[in-house]
Symmetry: C2
């Protein structure tokens, strides 16, 4: 059968991996896809690198627009990243009737609604397995594998850099800044790590998963995003003593009144499988009403794991590229006219449990005052540690775990506690999820 011609935009890490894997596993992939899949054009600003990686087979150019306009190309793989030129190229490819495979989570989370509408109109596919959790086929699981379910919530470790840093902070008891430097030296964190450590990358991925899990538009700008830069390793230690681990989770939950969509450091019970996902690995828990909790685990980044997802999409698109659009899985899992306009709730409306750490005067009645405020706010306490005051100090730490409450209610109670004269400074507050 006629080969499928692929145009590759961007020959960096993932582009190189895609090249390598397509070549190494050519026979295996053709046995599955039923026809050869060939990269016949490569565009990169760095022509030398492109020639080095792609060899003499494909046409090599520094003009990406010539690839998306090339009538010989069936599928465009966009691996440039970012919202700028990548958006233009993807929209142009769609306009030219090309199918698109992309690993660009930022682009989809921010401009996905526009891109999928254009693809829908033109009758082409935009596939994006590589955009979330690298080689783990989580998009396929959400869009197809769990299609019987009313998905209730999902929670994922979807940024390897921050999970590596948190694992190291816990293992070695080191502060964030030291571990970040180590991660940069090892290549687990970039020179400018902002997107990772501030939670933005995880929020892009959570936004995409939220849309296809619940049948709602991409709503990245409404996501609540907190990174791990302010995390104190003392809280990792206290959490451990209480039977919890702290992970940076991307969480999305469907509630009748709206969607929760948030990224923040989260305490989770240490006995959950996902609490034991260490280093740069990724994992996502998806809870459906029929299936219960399912978990998907693997490498979330890197040349070949991400290439694995890019090529799986190429095989899917190859199989369906001449099929009637009704035979294809809808881009966002739900039929385009069935996407629901359910809004992301403000963070004050989120329902969760809390870890609270506060410094107090070590004298009688303090605990009674604090627990009274919580009780008056309808917040019950699940566990508590009160440290003995160190020799010669009149101050001590109290750590509390609460049961679930609405965040605005927790905020109000925390403000009241902070206003007590016996409480010193601000209360450290972390969110906690049971994930059951």
């Amino acid at each position: 059968m006629k080969a499928i011609n692929v145009g590759l935009l961007g020959i960096g890490t993932v582009g190189g991996g895609t090249f390598t894997v397509l070549k190494r596993n050519e026979e295996e992939i053709t046995r599955r896809a039923g026809r050869p899949i060939r990269i016949t054009a490569v565009a990169d600003k760095n022509l030398e690198l492109a020639r080095k990686v792609a060899g003499t087979g494909p046409r090599i150019t520094d003009d990406a627009f010539s690839v998306v306009a090339d009538p010989e190309i069936d599928i465009v793989v966009e691996l440039i990243g970012g919202y700028g030129i990548a958006k233009e190229l993807v929209l142009k490819a769609i306009e030219n009737g090309k199918h698109v495979v992309t690993a660009n989570k930022a682009l989809l989370a921010v401009h996905g609604n526009e891109i999928f509408a254009a693809a829908q109109k033109k009758g082409v596919m935009v596939a994006f397995e590589a955009a979330v959790a690298g080689g783990i086929p989580i998009i396929k699981a959400l869009r197809e594998g769990l299609s019987a379910n009313r998905i209730q919530w999902l929670a994922g470790i979807i940024n390897g850099t921050t999970n590596f840093i948190l694992s190291e902070m816990r293992d070695k008891g080191l502060p964030f800044a030291d571990v970040l430097k180590e991660a940069q030296a090892l290549g687990y964190a970039e020179a400018d790590p902002t997107f990772d450590i501030e939670g933005i990358d995880a929020a892009h991925k959570a936004t995409i998963m939220s849309a296809i899990a619940f049948g709602v538009p991409m709503q990245f700008s409404a996501a609540h995003v907190e990174g791990i830069t302010a995390l104190d390793s003392v809280d990792i230690t206290y959490a451990e003593q209480l039977g919890y681990r702290i992970k940076l989770l991307g969480i999305s939950r469907m509630r009748p009144e709206g969607i929760e969509l948030r990224v923040h450091p989260t305490l989770i019970p240490a006995k959950r499988l996902i609490a034991n996902v260490e280093g740069a690995m990724n994992a996502v828990v998806v809870h459906g009403d029929a299936v219960g909790a399912t978990l998907y685990y693997g490498k979330g980044a890197g040349a070949e794991p991400t290439a694995s997802a890019v090529i799986a999409d190429l095989v899917d698109v190859t199989r369906l590229h001449t099929a009637d659009p009704e035979h294809r899985v809808p881009h966002l899992a739900f039929q385009p006219d069935q996407v629901r306009d359910l809004k992301v709730l403000p963070i004050e409306e989120v329902i969760t449990s809390y870890y609270l750490r506060m410094r107090v005067e070590d004298k009688p009645g303090v605990l009674a005052d604090i627990t009274r405020i919580l009780a008056d706010s309808g917040i019950s306490i699940e566990a508590m540690i009160q440290k003995e005051a160190p020799e010669g100090s009149s101050q001590t730490d109290i750590i509390m775990l609460t049961h679930e409450t609405v965040e605005k209610n927790a905020n109000a109670a925390i403000a009241k506690i902070e206003a007590l004269p016996v409480v010193q400074g601000r209360i450290t507050r972390l969110r906690m999820e049971n994930l059951q």
Copy 2:
């Protein structure tokens, strides 16, 4: 769009679950599938039960053949189980041009080659996500999600009953027979638990995964199958002390000379995620050359988790039922003319590590004799425990973990050690996998 009409054969646990979930999530499923999916005929020997579960909507009959012959039916869901009448009905449905969705692992592992050939010839789909690991979309991950990879091995906890029993034996230190009784009382084990505890059910599932992972025919009769009935809880304890857990794994590995396909109790490092899968839960690790190790976890049985998989298949088949067969995923992941005739290797050719427990005379030179035999066979020792002889006894236990070797080599060494006059009785031997 026109509704899809489904004929359901067998309204037991999974049939009832399928009914319930299809009804409860009708809106959500239709929003995804683009058209309603309706059960319009139900066949069961127990008409009363069928009427109770299915209500007055669908046609209810005790003649399953009338359903597979019904011109109104688009898809037949076979939930009868076993190889007898189920095989006849599935083949008849295919002959009548119906697509088939089945949860019947025994049928597919034993007669799959014949069934898929018939379906191929007739141009219909036979979907079987529910046949392996219940609601976990592992078939979809293997057939589609990892299609870029040369899959190297897979290993799964794919029988909830035995995993529940092993978890309880470890937690409570109880012998197999006691825990089996408890599992039966709790409904985790059937009155006749043979298929589960002897590893046959796991072997059916491993056979199916092996075929779609490696592009080989179903070869159930060549699988090596050991259950957990002979497992002594003392070995669970010793394994624990050495940093390992014992799980009943279904393992399949691709080697240039053939396929390993085996089910047996297996020591795995306690720090692996899959070692921490407890109770009746299922999990499968799949290792591909590009993606590395990925893991899929969830409920492997039960009415609604299994219905989740059945209905996901119904959505897939609905989407593609009028599509050209070339647009569909091949039944066994590889194009039908691309299935390779690679044979399952005899167990003697398997390469693995071993846990050995032996009772010996507690006197000088014994350990030297044993380690000499292993060294002469080229088997190196990774770890060892030698227990102190109990007060008043002249005998003690030695526990050894070996590095990898070919099983026939291990067998020969074990026979030589057993022949030593200082070694009492038979050596307990368990296989061990690193799963990295």
